[in-house]
């Protein structure tokens, strides 16, 4: 494991993803931190038949499913919060293109916890008694479903509760606010389940809005919830979560959230979206051009900007990052 793990986004997708893998996004709910740009690159490289593990749906899953790249998905919440239903995912589910297995949000976090612990099962005191337990999109002929959330007997009381199956995704692309070249990462805002996911996944790739010197981590070791020892690769990508938000860096791009979700409602709209917003950039600069430099500035003017202040002194410039990246890929 090399000390410096910085590689370009395209290289990370090329090296760590394959058709048909169980792919997890490390996100903070549908509007917050998520490496949506990683999903764009998966499409650019024509990855397909993915088994998507998303604690919650995000615009990334909405896009991947809408574009037909997802055969199976497991989710706690499949909407876009106040932005409404996720039209791409919805269309894929309603057409049968994507089999969507439902759990609750706690269930997904617990299943990642169970994967991280390498437990054979996780106690379930939620999801039992509802159709989440009784109905399985992955085994539609079983009713009531017996293998999705089977019962287990508590040896202390003799009472029955449920048992969740642990999750161990093949690859997780986890969005973080700050990473150092070694793979130590700081998240600003809710972790959601990124801590557990970073230990449950077989391979972890960090997608960071900014790269900082390791001295930043030594100043704030309690903030480093993902340590380098569990990380394979670090990708620098500003506005990686766009059009979603990243606390400290940028707000949600409301207009693009709506434009994107509207486009994903139809096959044609999705094709147009892929043409205009997935294939139409070559590097970070042209990606930011696509977002619009004025828009980038406006979104960066966030009420949360002050959250980033303590770390600014350690943020590396694009030139420094390019030099470090060249080291690894040389």
């Amino acid at each position: 494991m090399p000390a410096n793990k910085l590689i370009p986004l395209a290289e990370a997708v090329r090296r760590y993803t394959r058709d048909g893998i169980q792919y997890a996004s490390g996100a903070a709910l549908p509007v917050g931190s998520d490496a949506v740009v990683f999903g764009r690159e998966l499409l650019r490289q024509k990855r397909k038949n993915l088994h998507a593990v998303f604690h919650c749906n995000t615009q990334q899953l909405n896009l991947l499913a809408g574009a037909g790249a997802v055969d199976k998905a497991e989710c706690g919440f499949s909407g876009l919060e106040v932005f409404g239903f996720a039209n791409g995912l919805r269309r894929a589910v309603e057409s049968g293109q994507t089999a969507l297995e439902d759990y609750s949000n706690l269930a997904m976090a617990l299943r990642l916890l169970g994967g991280a612990m390498n437990w054979p099962f996780v106690p379930a005191t939620v999801n039992i008694g509802s159709d989440i337990q009784q109905r399985s999109a992955f085994a539609p002929d079983e009713y009531p479903a017996t293998r999705k959330i089977p019962t287990v007997t508590d040896p202390f009381s003799g009472q029955e509760i449920g048992a969740f199956s642990p999750l161990k995704p093949d690859v997780a692309a986890i969005h973080v606010s700050l990473a150092d070249p070694l793979g130590n990462a700081i998240m600003l805002g809710t972790e959601w389940s990124r801590f557990e996911l970073s230990r449950a996944a077989k391979k972890v790739i960090l997608i960071a809005d900014a790269i900082v010197d390791t001295d930043c981590m030594r100043q704030y070791p309690n903030l480093v919830r993902i340590p380098d020892i569990v990380v394979e690769a670090v990708v620098y990508h500003p506005f990686a979560a766009w059009p979603q938000s990243s606390p400290g860096f940028y707000d949600v791009d409301e207009a693009h959230m709506k434009l994107m979700n509207k486009a994903l409602a139809t096959e044609e709209g999705t094709a147009d979206y892929v043409r205009d917003y997935v294939e139409r950039y070559d590097d970070i600069d042209s990606y930011l051009d696509l977002i619009g430099r004025d828009n980038v500035e406006r979104l960066s003017n966030s009420a949360t900007s002050f959250l980033l202040d303590p770390y600014r002194q350690w943020i590396k410039t694009p030139a420094e990052i390019a030099a470090l990246t060249a080291e690894v890929t040389a």
Binding site: L29, G32, S78, N105, P140, Y143, S193, S245, M257
Partner: protein, 267 residues
């Protein structure tokens, strides 16, 4: 969202619903709010009569109050901007909600039935049947609402009052109410008490203490028992003590509108 039908009143139906929901919360309680209207209802309570409410979201955002209008999500920068603590889903939904520590949760519903079971997963044409077939319309899934429905001390369900949303039996139970009524929850050992009220755009339903069937407890100044029964997809029973819900006070409306800065409830 239905257009306000209360043009002659100084508030909308959604504002009445939010205020009626907010009145269900008591000072000092540990309370979890979902995204959207339930968050506005919750923060209205904090702004008006429950200043020491301990508000949380399922993302583990604590100590925050929204700035700049209705947050787009429970992790939106509008709510992340002034939090005192960020943790995670296991903490919020597990340690604090599924554990039974949370006093009250507010959840929404696409469809609710007479035992307070909530469907937010999909709309099927008729019953699903023995095979789990594709929904005609796929909805958002349970999210954290199932965890709240299982674990929170009590649950307030907020829903627009329309016949299609008030079914005798939901096609899919995303979040359990009283299941098939009576003590049916006991079998699963849920630590939470179940839904204490369904607050709608027309009135308030509460469960019968024994059968757990929801009955009409109160209507609004602008609605009526007959209108509500007509808008309910089952034969809604009416409480012998059915009454009118007090209209929003000027203080309540002012507090609500401070929280609903961008006017989401007035649209």
């Amino acid at each position: 969202m239905s257009a306000p039908l209360t043009e002659n009143l100084p508030y909308t139906r959604q504002e009445m619903m939010a205020i009626a929901t907010g009145r269900e919360l008591r000072d000092g309680e540990l309370a979890i709010f979902g995204v959207g209207l339930s968050m506005l209802a919750g923060y209205f309570a904090q702004a008006h009569h429950a200043p020491n409410i301990r508000a949380m979201t399922e993302g583990g955002v604590y100590g925050a109050t929204p700035v700049g209008g209705l947050p787009w999500g429970i992790e939106c920068n509008r709510i992340s901007a002034n939090a005192t603590s960020f943790t995670n889903a296991l903490d919020a939904l597990g340690f604090l909600v599924a554990s039974g520590r949370c006093d009250v949760g507010i959840i929404g519903a696409a469809q609710v039935d007479k035992f307070g079971n909530v469907n937010t997963t999909g709309i099927w044409d008729g019953e699903i049947g023995d095979r789990y077939r594709l929904p005609k319309t796929r909805l958002t899934g349970a999210g954290g609402a199932n965890d709240i429905a299982c674990g929170a001390g009590r649950v307030v369900i907020m829903v627009t009052h329309e016949p299609k949303r008030f079914a005798d039996q939901v096609s899919y139970i995303s979040s359990p109410g009283y299941l098939d009524g009576g003590n049916a929850r006991d079998k699963f050992g849920f630590v939470g008490g179940g839904p204490s009220a369904i607050v709608t755009t027309l009135g308030i339903l509460r469960p019968d203490p024994v059968s757990k069937e929801f009955i009409l407890d109160a209507y609004y100044a602008f609605s009526s028992v007959d209108e509500i029964r007509a808008a309910t997809g089952w034969d809604l029973k009416v409480s012998p003590t059915v009454h009118v819900v007090p209209e929003p006070s000027p203080e309540e409306l002012a507090a609500l509108r401070r929280v609903d800065e961008t006017g989401a409830l007035r649209k």
